[in-house]
């Protein structure tokens, strides 16, 4: 028994040091040297203050901003409490929630098509999805154009410009980062003007 216990204890100790401390700390050191921005969470700064992360969605409620997806993380886009809705496909609460979102969006976007792109009315997996589909961005154009007094074609051009293609031209799906899109919007056509 004792001869079995010895390797068990020694291995536990050594592996804890090697894989639990040396490995993550070495990777941390290398990562912070080689890729400091990514290692720190790809934070976005504006005049010295952190306004979010390129990778993490945030709540947009003002009609002059493009809106992101519904979020089940905390009270919405709580980046310290990630969560999906986890509602099943035949769940009445799911269908009721989607119906309510469809109605709210239709009321706020009277000039948009009646069918709402599905990603705008369904909760993302993480609750922090930073993206919407190009379809969901284009669907919101009439509202933004009205709020910002802009021609719709200029907005559509902006969306196409901000659309990120598939990785390596193949992987994943085309998408628009909502925070980046709204910052570009503010930079070109400030709300106050």
């Amino acid at each position: 028994m004792l001869s079995l216990l010895r390797p068990a204890l020694v291995l536990t100790g050594v592996m804890t040091v090697v894989t639990g401390l040396a490995y993550p700390l070495a990777v941390t050191g290398l990562a912070e040297t080689l890729f400091p921005r990514q290692a720190g969470g790809s934070l976005v700064h504006d005049n010295g203050t952190v306004i979010g992360s390129d990778l993490i969605g945030q709540t947009f409620t003002r009609p002059g901003y493009f809106q992101g997806r519904p979020s089940a993380a905390g009270t919405g886009y709580d980046a310290a409490n990630s969560s999906g809705s986890n509602l099943g496909p035949s769940s009445r609460p799911l269908v009721d929630a989607v119906a309510e979102r469809v109605n709210t969006l239709r009321a706020a976007n009277p000039d948009a098509p009646a069918q709402v792109p599905v990603d705008l009315v369904t909760a993302s997996a993480s609750g922090l999805d930073p993206h919407i589909t190009p379809a969901a961005a284009l669907w919101q154009v009439p509202r933004i154009a009205r709020e910002r007094r802009l021609p719709a074609p200029a907005l559509r051009d902006l969306i196409h410009e901000m659309t990120e293609g598939r990785d390596l031209g193949l992987l994943g799906e085309p998408r628009v980062n909502v925070l980046r899109l709204n910052r570009a919007l503010d930079a070109r056509w400030p709300l106050s003007s």
Binding site: A26, A39, G84, S90, A114, P117, V118, A125, R166
Partner: protein, 569 residues
């Protein structure tokens, strides 16, 4: 379904086919002791453990060392969670984890399950994540690899008394396979956007002036090992769906490749070590067939979208501007194809990381992960666990073939006798006994944890007990598993699902190693042929199907039919 989605699947499959012989050949050299770069580190470690790299262990000693080592690791992880509030690397100031949750998490990580009853960013300190979870990610994976290699030696050796040395196999798995791949992979992930920091959570003021706390941490280092070691326990609550764990489709491809790499490679290692590469490819082919069927069903079901949502005004059609499909619980950057490929990969292997919330999958798409796990995770499977699980089915397949032609069954030159078949049946039966037994108990005592009504509620509970027993760790996460009852029962299911298989497998390895090889004759059933691949695939499907069809009919199948009829719950 669209052409680009199918192309993504083809590229992934091609990548795995290419990498399998490369990693398989490398692992053969590692376990044969032909890689010696770190011998200076190995030697003193073995001496400290009271062994040498030439000591050959009887299977009982091999199993004993493994069990005690796992126990020591589990106890350490339990202790760490209970006192994390007093220890450093805890910038969020998180307190002690409750006893039942700490037991569940310790069992979960020591068995390579990585079921998450905890929510990472709200429960565990950086120290617990690193010195607790990451360590178990490495060593539970390495233990699985060691068991697989010991079983391979059982087939490959002639009249031998031992099956290798657990200390040596475990150390080499970590030092030569897992660690180097993890360091390179983790840095690649950071370059692509995954954070790796010990800094406290970031405080942001959003564009609209609200406050947002952004949880950070040493994410990349844990991501890489949790996938490479098919562990699956996320740094964050939503696992690999979190944009920090998996910021784009390229990191997603790295994750999926890492999940399959070692499991697929071990089939090749098997072929090489028994001296016939075709035997390894035959196993790989059988796994591949089951995998592709799963991907097709899941991808098809999700692309079609949810009929209940179309009816109320959600546009789920494929267009140049959106992939469409059922997007509840999915991320836009992955869409349907990459999400479903990941879901099948993570449950075919015993990983359990998720990029889409499985609870929200369409009934038939959600059934694919369930079935993958019910079959015992032999489609590539967990590192090591997939190969030795598949070997149990191989033994049954040659046994059945032997019965049909009236010959003593043989496999790669070894006669398969009553003792091996008895042990294999024991291991195979432990699965349904644990899933259906504990699952039924849980349904009677703890139905309050069901989130959804109707057949989906049953699927939620079933998924939890299947996932725990199969050491997968993914969940229909609406299920409220963090209660004393479920934490305890699921913890038990994980331990049974792991060790009720490992111990018989090592016993089989010991029995086979001691046996003399039989020469190949004209009457030998070739186990690399298309006929054998078909037979093996059917044995896997029939055993799984007969055992679990009734409960699947009450859960996902009933839900699928109700939804088609417009019935909601």
């Amino acid at each position: 379904m669209d052409a680009n989605g199918i192309l993504q699947i083809v590229v992934f499959v091609a990548l795995i086919c290419l990498l399998t012989p490369v990693i398989g050949g490398y692992m053969t050299r590692v376990y044969d002791g032909r890689i010696t770069a770190l011998r200076w580190l190995e030697r003193p470690l073995y001496r400290l453990c009271g062994t040498t790299d030439t000591e050959d262990q009887h299977w009982t000693r091999y199993a004993g060392t493994l069990l005690l080592f796992t126990l020591a690791g589990a106890l350490l992880l339990y202790a760490l969670q209970r006192v994390q509030g007093l220890l450093p690397f805890n910038p969020a100031g998180l307190g002690a984890v409750a006893p039942d949750l700490a037991f569940n998490t310790a069992a979960s990580f020591a068995t390579n399950t990585n079921w998450q009853s905890y929510g990472g960013e709200t429960t565990l300190s950086y120290l617990t994540q690193m010195a607790g979870l990451t360590v178990q990610n490495f060593v539970s994976a390495a233990s699985g690899m060691a068991v697989a290699v010991a079983l391979i030696r059982g087939f490959a050796r002639r009249s031998a008394s031992g099956i290798g040395n657990f200390t040596v196999d475990l150390t080499r798995s970590v030092l030569y396979v897992l660690l180097p791949l993890c360091v390179v992979g983790a840095l690649a992930l950071v370059a692509l956007g995954v954070p790796q920091t010990l800094a406290p959570y970031a405080e942001a003021t959003t564009l609209e002036g609200a406050k947002q706390t952004i949880a950070l941490g040493p994410v990349a280092s844990q991501m890489m090992i949790k996938h490479l070691g098919t562990n699956g326990g996320g740094f964050f609550n939503v696992n690999a769906a979190h944009p920090f764990e998996n910021p784009n489709a390229l990191t997603n491809l790295i994750h999926m490749t890492a999940i399959f790499l070692i499991g697929a490679g071990l089939t090749n290692t098997f072929g090489r070590m028994v001296g016939d590469m075709r035997q390894g490819w035959a196993l790989f082919a059988s796994m591949g067939i089951l995998f592709l069927i799963g991907v097709a069903v899941a991808y098809g079901a999700e692309s079609a979208g949810n009929p209940a949502l179309t009816a109320i005004g959600a546009d789920q059609a494929l267009s140049p501007w959106q992939p469409g499909g059922a997007m509840e619980g999915k991320e836009v950057r992955f869409g349907i194809a990459a999400s479903m490929l990941f879901s099948v990969v993570t449950t075919a292997a015993s990983c359990g990381a998720v990029v889409a919330m499985h609870d929200s999958l369409m009934p038939l798409a959600g059934m694919v992960p369930l079935v993958n796990m019910m079959l015992g995770e032999v489609i590539i499977g967990g590192v090591g666990a997939g190969l030795y699980g598949m070997m149990l089915f191989v033994l049954l397949a040659v046994f059945i073939a032997g019965l049909m032609v009236g010959r003593t069954p043989e496999y790669v030159g070894k006669k398969i006798e009553a003792r091996e078949i008895t042990l294999a049946m024991l291991a195979v039966l432990a699965f349904p006994a644990c899933i259906l037994g504990l699952g039924a108990t849980a349904l009677l005592l703890g139905a309050g944890s069901l989130q959804d009504a109707g057949p989906h509620g049953l699927s939620e509970l079933l998924y939890a007990y299947v996932s725990a027993t199969a050491n997968n760790g993914s969940a229909f996460a609406g299920f409220g598993a963090n209660t004393v009852l479920h934490n305890t029962l699921l913890g038990l299911a994980m331990l049974i699902g792991r060790f009720a298989v490992i111990v018989p497998v090592l016993a089989i390895a010991g029995a086979l190693a001691a046996r003399r090889p039989v020469p190949v004759s004209a009457g030998t059933f070739p186990t690399h042929s298309g006929l054998f691949i078909t037979l093996l695939t059917l044995v896997v499907v029939i055993i799984g199907g007969l055992t679990f069809f009734p409960v699947l009919a009450l859960g996902p199948l009933a839900e699928h039919l109700s939804l088609a009829a417009g019935l909601l719950f």
